[in-house]
Subunit: 137 residues, 4 copies
């Protein structure tokens, strides 16, 4: 449960984007920050931590990029499309690469935490693409 | 919708705390980061922005403290109670003071975004207190 | 004084980029996070806060983008150029727009804190452009 | 080189604390965020990564706590001592435990990046203690 939608509904101005697309994107960004923060350290707990280096660095980068993108989209007063677009593009790339890495470990090494994290990254990647399309419209 | 609970359920080790209390606290921290990031800038859109200085600074501090606390609690491998406790105590204080300020504006100036933000802060304050109690148990 | 250069010099692997360019960029990112975090709230202390809305939102976004970019560049193991490039491009755009806004207030309203913040943003913009050139080489 | 001192000198109000102590503390917080972000991932590059789990989690927590503390102290308008104190206390504890862990690896495993990171943590711990004393005065 989050207050994201209610915060957008009580915003006193006009939201810069489609409110449903925006709410999903903001929520997905904060959710992906959480999943990646958890997964980076879950990887540390595995015996095969040597094979998880790329996954850990990816998750750390992804958590930071998602946190920043979620905050930029949350700031509706003086919303600047140029900044939102650049952040969303960075978020799409980072979520995509992090998801690929997590999916690999979910498949090959049967790591359930990586499977859940990959779902969270793919949700965020999709939500950022939808928001980019809406920004361009 | 978030993946917080699923990330905890797929954690390969033993979670350091009651899983339901912990999941609620992590989710409340990330939610409060979002609400406060939005509310700080929503305040900027009000004509009476002169009366909202304290509210804006509080919301900015609260968003950062919640983000950090949410991440610390998400990291279960080598979980360190001393650090978790100090972060939770800072989070309780910050959420409490931010909620008081937001509630004031919700009541006196009828600001709906501050009302929702205060709810999010109170939820996070409560969840951090519950987690502190569980840590002490 | 920072430990940025020493951290790069003691990195056990091979740094992905020119070490001097990279150190300056990492340092500029963290410095710009600090300047923008301060300037956003300094603006709140001005009587003309009504005219500073765009400046405040810009500074908040810029502090977050710089924080994330500085961390991504600090992570040398499994450094991923695709992610670094996207973050650097977002950082260039955000620093440029934030600097323009701060320079405007420094010039028109004689705000010294905006003048210093603009310097910090321009330094970071330049350092990110240099790092992007080095990445492309 | 940072703009921290210049940002404090151009602050239009009265700084809540001794300016030299405050500037050193803010700078040490952002520096420690950088050192810990780098060291966490430098550890990943070591063959003995199995022995560095606690060090990595500590560094990740320390980077987040320092980032938040550095920002809270940077925000001088409506500065709230209760929040600053709680953040500083969390920062002292986190820097101390992270430094102890890094010093251990510097000594026992000859890890130079952990030695530099420990210096950065100890500097930040000391600066936060000095700021706490000044707050209490």
């Amino acid at each position: 449960m989050t207050h994201t939608r209610e915060m957008l509904e009580t915003y006193p101005g006009t939201v810069a984007l489609d409110a449903a697309i925006l709410a999903e994107c903001i929520e997905a960004c904060f959710d992906c920050d959480q999943s990646c923060s958890a997964d980076a350290v879950d990887d540390l707990g595995e015996e095969e931590v040597n094979h998880l280096r790329r996954c850990i660095t990816m998750c750390l980068n992804c958590s930071d990029v998602c946190a920043t993108t979620g905050r930029i989209l949350s700031r509706q007063v003086e919303f600047e499309p140029v900044i939102a677009r650049a952040a969303l593009q960075a978020c799409v790339e980072t979520c995509r690469l992090c998801a690929e890495e997590c999916e690999h470990h979910a498949r090959e090494m049967n790591m359930e935490h990586c499977r859940v994290c990959a779902e969270s990254c793919r949700r965020c990647e999709r939500a950022c693409r939808d928001t980019l399309s809406d920004l361009a419209a």
